[in-house]
Structure formats: C-alpha cells, structure tokens
Subunit: 178 residues, 2 copies
Amino acid sequence: MSLAYVILGLLQQENRSGYDLKISCFNGCINHLWTADQAQIYKTLDKLVAQDLITCTLEIQHDRPNRKVYSITELGKAELYQWLQSHQPLPVVREPLLVQLHFAAQLPDQTIIALLEQELHARSEKLRDCQAIALSPKDIMSSDRQQKMHQLLVDLVIRKEQTYIDWLKAALDSYRKN
Amino acid sequence: MSLAYVILGLLQQENRSGYDLKISCFNGCINHLWTADQAQIYKTLDKLVAQDLITCTLEIQHDRPNRKVYSITELGKAELYQWLQSHQPLPVVREPLLVQLHFAAQLPDQTIIALLEQELHARSEKLRDCQAIALSPKDIMSSDRQQKMHQLLVDLVIRKEQTYIDWLKAALDSYRKN
DNA sequence: GAGAGCATGTAAGAGGTTACATGATTCC
DNA sequence: GGAATCATGTAACCTCTTACATGCTCTC
C-alpha cells in the first residue's frame, strides 16, 4: 500500500494532522503523484499508528476543533527508507478508452472519431495543466536537488501526455481520410 | 465498472463460459487492455445475469465438469453500444516509482540511479513484449477494420513505453554526470 | 442568516487480489 | 504416482470512493 509510504514521506518532512495532509498536500503537488481522499487518509493514519510507524499527539485548540498531530517514529523512518530503495512492480493501467476502441472497431468511423476527439480534448486540457505547473514559481524553501527532481517528474508527465496526444492526432488522421 | 463492458463485448462476439473468458480472453490480447482475475469474472457474470444483460445456459458434459455458457441479451447489446459511445473520464494513474523519486530526492545519487535503472530494465522488457505482439501473425478471422484497430492500439502501447524509456535514459544521464 | 473554513470521523459499497476447495480426466 | 487441464465457485482481505454527520468560528 503505497499511500502509507506517501504519508510517511510527508510526515518525515514535517509533523501534520490528517486535515493538513488532505488540504496542504493531497490538494497540491503530491496529488499529481498519488491521489487520496480524506476518508482513506484518516484510515491509513490509524493503521500507521497501530504499526508504531507514527505517533499521535492531541493538540488542544480553543477557538477551533482540536487537532491530532502525527509524527514519524524511528521505526517509521527505517520503513520509509527501505521502501524508497525497493523496486516496485510496474503499475497496472486500465484505460476504458482502449477497451472502447477495441470493441468499437466494427462500428461506423464517426463513432470512433468522436471517441478520439473527446479524448484529445480531455488530454489537451490535462497537458495545459501540467505545463502550467512546470512554469509555476519555484518553492524557495526547497533544495536544489528537490527542485531538480520536481522538474524531472513534471517533464515525464508532460512527455506522457504529449505522446498520447500525438497518437490521438495520428489515429484521427487515419480515420478521417476514409 | 468497465469490466462488465469488457465481458459484454466478448460475449457479443461469441457465447462463452467464465472459464473461456479467463483462459481464451483475459490471458490473451484483452489482458493488455484490461486485466481481470477469475474470481472477479465469476462475480461480474452473476451481476450481469441479475441485471438481465446476459443469460446463462447450463451445458451438461459427461467426461468433464458442466459448463455455464453465457450469452448477451438485446438489453445487454443496447447497454454495450451506449457505453461504447460514451466518453469515459481519464483514468487515475498511480505510479509508485514517481512517489519514490519525489521523496528520494534528498538521498544519495546512487539510490536514485538504482531506482531508475531497475525501472529501465522492467520497462525495456515490457517494450520487447509489446513489440513481439505487434509482429505476431495476424488473426485471419478478424476483419480489416479489426486488424487496423489492433495495430493502432499496439502502436499506442509501444509509444508509451518508448516515451518512458527515453525519459528514464535522460534522467539517468543527468544523475550520472554528477 | 448563509456559507466557507477548520477538523474529525463513520458507513456503505465498488472494484480488485489471493488463496482455498472440489473432483474428474488425461498425460508423463 | 504426480502434475496439468477442465470448470466452478467461496472467503477473506485490501484499496479506494461517495456520502453523510458533527459542531464551532468567522466573514459577507
């Protein structure tokens, strides 16, 4: 379960509450690497506490609801560093569009073209989002190494979208010629 | 749930049992589009019967276990064709490697290089598998349209792997230079 | 007064994986 | 005798999503 390691990684940077994780991490940059919703974050935090990988401190607040602030333990750090160096199996990718195209092969060209066009539109939007991230101002707090890695990761995501878009355009061309 | 539609698509080609689906479909070409294990196939078949999208006929065999052969209903076909034309949201991709790299940024170069090399190895193997499929003999039974689509889909998968590999090599270069 | 922000959580369900169970036949 | 093939299924579990519930404060 990689989400557990994402959370360990985030807590190793800084102590945080479940709410912090959701709002300041999983709504930001990390969300492009690993999406997680609130329900699952809270559940995973409980699990990590049970495994002694993190600890929880209740922070009493008077004008706001109390917070449960989590910090990583030595055991948690060891677990994290070990995972960071272990080779993970290639993720399984399931793309509804490819299934649709496979079975739509015998349907009229117009159907196939419509599917491809819709996908092209969605992917183009996503590419614009990624390019916006690439150009967004850099976090002054982060190290050179961190910034270099960030650039590298954004570059991959952009390359992937660009490849998909190129393919969609080529596919559209070949169906429009008929 | 796209698996239901994959099964509808396969049953629309030909009547099949759960076992047929697992062995002759989800171990073959379809597996590259949508993996599914046996337990889930049986569960989904039950669900589709309950929804009147497919029907089941028991085929008595004497030297072998009986088979439950499923066929698609008119309702099922209607449901399938509608789905085939509907735009599906972009799938969420979660890549452990990218999370690892993100948090490994402050670790020694050697760690990062090792991760990239392992991934490069795995991706290169996958690319070879895909290229083998592209070159494998064509199914004489399938139509020209079907073959064209097949080529297009294989082409996408190859392009995606190639993009990933190019990126891995560039990333490796930039870390090895230090 | 309405809505947004802060902060926690539960419940229910969809989708997917792993492992186990059964029992006949065929092949080495 | 042991393994593979045929053919069905169940049980337990993991991951993730959606929706709901609570209750206080601050701003418009």
